[in-house]
């Protein structure tokens, strides 16, 4: 649990472990699904979306999602709103998928060069 404390003052930047750990739980994926459908819900609204969980349970799961950067909270008046932040998933996608896409593009350019007689 000491790991959790360190996050509050020095976010574990780019820690993909946190993203995968957060996504490894079906309840947390459900919370993300609900935010995808309706972004910016308050804790109370999210609680109503997953009646099988206690308020504490929802808070705990939201905490894990927030530490992983998958949920960002914003205060608006008296309410705290929760937003789905897709950027960490985008970064994971790019780490593997885009790298291959770039390689593929380079290979196609090589092929084009060869076909056009610049061997």
């Amino acid at each position: 649990m000491t790991r959790d404390y360190s996050i509050t003052y020095a976010p574990l930047v780019e820690d993909e472990d946190l993203v995968f750990k957060a996504l490894a739980d079906p309840t947390r994926r459900l919370l993300l699904d609900r935010l995808f459908e309706r972004d910016g819900m308050t804790l109370g609204e999210l609680e109503a979306e997953v009646p099988q969980l206690t308020r504490f349970g929802v808070m705990r799961h939201l905490g894990v999602l927030e530490q992983a950067g998958l949920v960002v909270t914003r205060k608006q008046g008296r309410h705290k709103h929760h937003y789905l932040n897709p950027v960490p998933i985008r970064l994971i996608y790019e780490r593997w998928i885009d790298k291959y896409r770039a390689r593929q593009a380079a290979a196609l350019l090589d092929l084009k060069g060869q076909l056009e007689g610049r061997q």
């Binding site: 003052y9 020095a10 976010p11 930047v13 780019e14 309706r38 972004d39 910016g40 819900m41 308050t42 950067g69 960002v72 914003r74 608006q76 709103h81 937003y83 932040n85 897709p86 950027v87 960490p88 998933i89 985008r90 970064l91 790019e94 885009d98 896409r101 770039a102 593009a105």
Partner: protein, 154 residues
């Protein structure tokens, strides 16, 4: 009681950490050369003063992409401007929305960038389209941290 005017449904929030100082991130999002590298090669013209224009064009300048107004400018922390997607006729017909860039210094030589796109209540097509901010912002991170842009979207 779910209505389209609930604040949460019409606000999008994107956040990421970039290994750079607050000033470096500010420079990257305002310097036309860097903006072109991470933002679809756009030509950007802006003087970054409240009330002045922030305009963008396609790389060959044949099409205007944006003609917006700076609402707030507090270097190197905060930049707020209006948004209308001029590159698409349907989206251009929707009401103006708002984009806020917030840059915070973090321990360990990192900056936290938060982009909020809101006032999208009456602009559903724009709201769906600007989900592409994820790509733009991770491209920005790559450009700042490695000096290289990501391969273009297919």
């Amino acid at each position: 009681m779910t209505t389209m005017t609930e604040p949460g449904t019409v606000t999008q929030v994107y956040q990421l950490y970039i290994k750079a100082s607050q000033e470096e991130v500010w420079k990257a999002i305002t310097d036309p050369v860097t903006v072109a590298r991470f933002f679809f090669g756009q030509v950007r013209e802006a003087s970054y003063e409240v009330g002045s224009s922030i305009r963008s064009w396609s790389p060959d300048r044949s099409q205007m992409w944006g003609d917006n107004v700076i609402l707030e400018c507090d270097p190197p922390r905060r930049l707020v401007h209006t948004w209308r997607s001029l590159y698409d006729r349907d989206m251009a017909a929707e009401p103006e929305s708002r984009v806020s860039w917030e840059i915070e210094a973090q321990p360990g030589g990192f900056a936290k960038l938060t982009l909020i796109h809101d006032r999208l209540e009456a602009s559903p097509k724009t709201a769906a389209s600007v989900r592409g901010w994820s790509y733009i912002l991770s491209n920005l991170k790559t450009v700042i941290e490695t000096g290289q842009a990501l391969p273009p979207l297919m």
